[in-house]
Amino acid sequence: MIYWQLFLAFFIPNIVGYGGGPAIIPLIENEVVGRYGWMSSQAFAETLALANALPSPIATKMAGYIGYDVAGVPGSLIATFATVAPSLLLMLVALGTLYRYRESVKVKSMSQWVRPVVMTLMAYLTWRFLDQGLDTAGILHTAIIGGIAGVLLLATRVHPAFVVCFGLVYGALLLG
């Protein structure tokens, strides 16, 4: 039962997740935190922070870890399978058909039309993390960390991994 839920929780976001890895994040949050309640917002934010700091695709890292957290190694395998396999199998089986449509306007408009929805989902998730930050770290620390992270991410070319490290060190020293 839990395995089937895990499969669905990762299959659905990935099958509608046009627009690459980041577009899938709010959809996964919706399943994992909202629908099934496997994780708190805080734990999801921590997982996402670490996933951002490590290489390789974000969606599979999230699936692999959350699957493990929920149901051990089999859970990890199932969540990763649900993320990777469906679109890969489709690609292998229907390559000829897809080849004809690779420049299709319809296919391009699919990812274009989905973007505003993903934008809204991401805005909502931003607000959830803000709420979480105010709740645990308080308004002052949230503003300081958020402000410095914003400058680092938007105005400099510092790698996101270092920005995550900054948050970790700040938290360990000043919030512990």
């Binding site: 990935n14 099958i15 509608v16 997740g17 046009y18 690459g20 890895g21 577009a23 994040i25 709010p26 959809l27 934010a45 921590e46 670490l50 490590l54 290489p55 390789s56 695709p57 974000i58 599979t60 692999g64 957290d69 990890s76 993320t83 990777v84 679109s87 890969l88 690609m91 897809l98 080849y99 004809r100 690779r102 420049e103 299709s104 306007v105 319809k106 408009s109 274009q112 039309w113 973007r115 505003p116 934008m119 805005a123 909502y124 931003t126 979480q132 930050g133 645990t136 770290a137 620390h141 960390i145 958020g146 991410l153 996101p160 900054f166 948050g167 938290g171 360990a172 919030l175 512990g176």
Partner: protein
Amino acid sequence: MLRTQTQLFLAFLRIGLFGFGGGPSMIPLVHQEVVKRHAWMDDEAFADVLAIGNTLPGPIATKMAGYIGYRVGGSLGALNAVIAVIGPIIVAMIALLSLYARHGDQRWVQGMGQGVVPVVMVMMAKLTWDFFTKSRASLGWLVTLVMGAVAGGLIYWLDVHPGLVIGAILIAALLRPEPHHTTRETDT
């Protein structure tokens, strides 16, 4: 046979380990290994696979790994390449987060978890902005904001599953009449 599989594994292991920044930023690395280093494909075939991969949902890096692995080494090659590109990092994720959870009762470890939330918030805000600017470029700001607001109303007020909203939009995009002037590929 074994040699090919080893090469596949090492090529996609390198791609996975050095591919910081998520799927799309890994494409140049895939190109480097697959076209330049091993010549498993030429530039044109690579561009086609990339374009086809982009017509499907799901992470692009694993679709590329699986498809190229299949072309080079059959089903085993597909499995091999996918495991090489994501396996080691998933194990690292699990190890690091388990270590973190084990020391979760220490105050400074809890502080780390709290300190990272505002950082993730800023990252999410940046992604939101990126999607807005990309969408504004193709649909215009008004359509973007109206579509975003309607979707938000459906999902957060009426409690419609976001997958259903996106699924409906995808079907609408597929069913709309295709303009003729831009479809030279399908005419030939």
